[in-house]
């Protein structure tokens, strides 16, 4: 069951991620990206990270992608006009990506610790929300408060940046 869900949702994620990058129409890109995020959320839930999965749908697919669409519509972006490809830049980018992938695959496949199957949980289906809450407010209370300040400053920054005139 898990295997099937893994293969299905990971293929979906990768495919829609690719199309998000490759398509010309920015709105199509945004929509593919939204699907990509939702299938990622499914992967999270299949890995017993239920709170995170729900948050992924709510925040990413729900708020972030909507914001993207708002901005695309605000700037009224049309199909991207294709310019001449800079061969050197493309080659360089391709080489970096290829290097990264090859290193990753080599590392992942060489370590036998990564090849073990899913280990069973001692107590099945722990209350995910409760456990995350405990860890968050016991060990990470300070970063939690800092995140709050960060969000506040982001809000203020956005308001300042999007004023029409500087006067």
């Amino acid at each position: 069951m898990l295997l099937a869900s893994y293969w299905f949702f990971s293929t979906l994620t990768v495919a829609f991620g690719a199309t998000a990058i490759l398509l010309r129409n920015p709105v199509s890109c945004a929509m593919s990206l939204a699907v990509c995020f939702i299938s990622l959320a499914a992967l999270f839930i299949s890995l017993d990270a239920t709170l995170i999965g729900i948050m992924q749908v709510l925040v990413y697919a729900g708020a972030v992608m909507v914001l993207f669409l708002f901005i695309i519509m605000l700037l009224d972006l049309r199909m991207e006009k294709s310019r001449r490809l800079n061969f050197g830049a493309t080659l360089g980018g391709g080489l970096v990506i290829a290097a990264f992938l090859s290193m990753l695959v080599k590392v992942v496949l060489s370590d036998p610790g990564f090849a073990k199957p899913l280990p069973p949980l001692a107590t099945p289906a722990p209350d995910n929300v409760r456990m995350i809450g405990l860890t968050l407010f016991h060990s990470y209370a300070l970063p939690f408060e800092a995140i709050g300040v960060l969000l506040l400053s982001a809000t203020v920054g956005v308001i300042v940046l999007s004023r029409r005139t500087l006067r």
Binding site: F44, G94, P117, S139
Partner: protein, 105 residues
């Protein structure tokens, strides 16, 4: 049964796709989307480690708390970044990244 390697390779491919988007596309919005894909790839590998790395049969939820923070910060970053893009568009009337190159030597 999928192993940890499966999830890690999936995360790696997703990250590579995001990296390709940042380096090869010309529109700023698409580049920004590539950044988001990269962040999510990291989240995936973190959740995988959280599930597969058990200590005495119990999960350590620190990785999931970290994912929590990443999602939060990414959201804030998208907001601010898009605001900057809007200001940039208002100043230069273009979203093509090759037109924005005046900070040169």
């Amino acid at each position: 049964m999928p192993t940890l390697a499966n999830y890690l390779i999936a995360s790696g491919i997703l990250f590579a796709i995001g990296l390709g988007g940042v380096m090869l596309r010309r529109s700023i919005i698409i580049i920004f989307m590539g950044l988001e894909i990269m962040l999510n790839a990291a989240n995936l590998s973190l959740i995988a480690f959280s599930r597969y790395g058990l200590v005495n049969g119990h999960q350590l939820f620190d990785a999931q708390v970290l994912v929590f923070f990443i999602i939060t910060v990414a959201a804030a970053e998208v907001a601010v970044g898009l605001a900057i893009i809007v200001s940039l568009y208002r100043a230069r009337q273009t979203t093509h990244v090759e037109d924005i190159d005046t900070l040169k030597f």
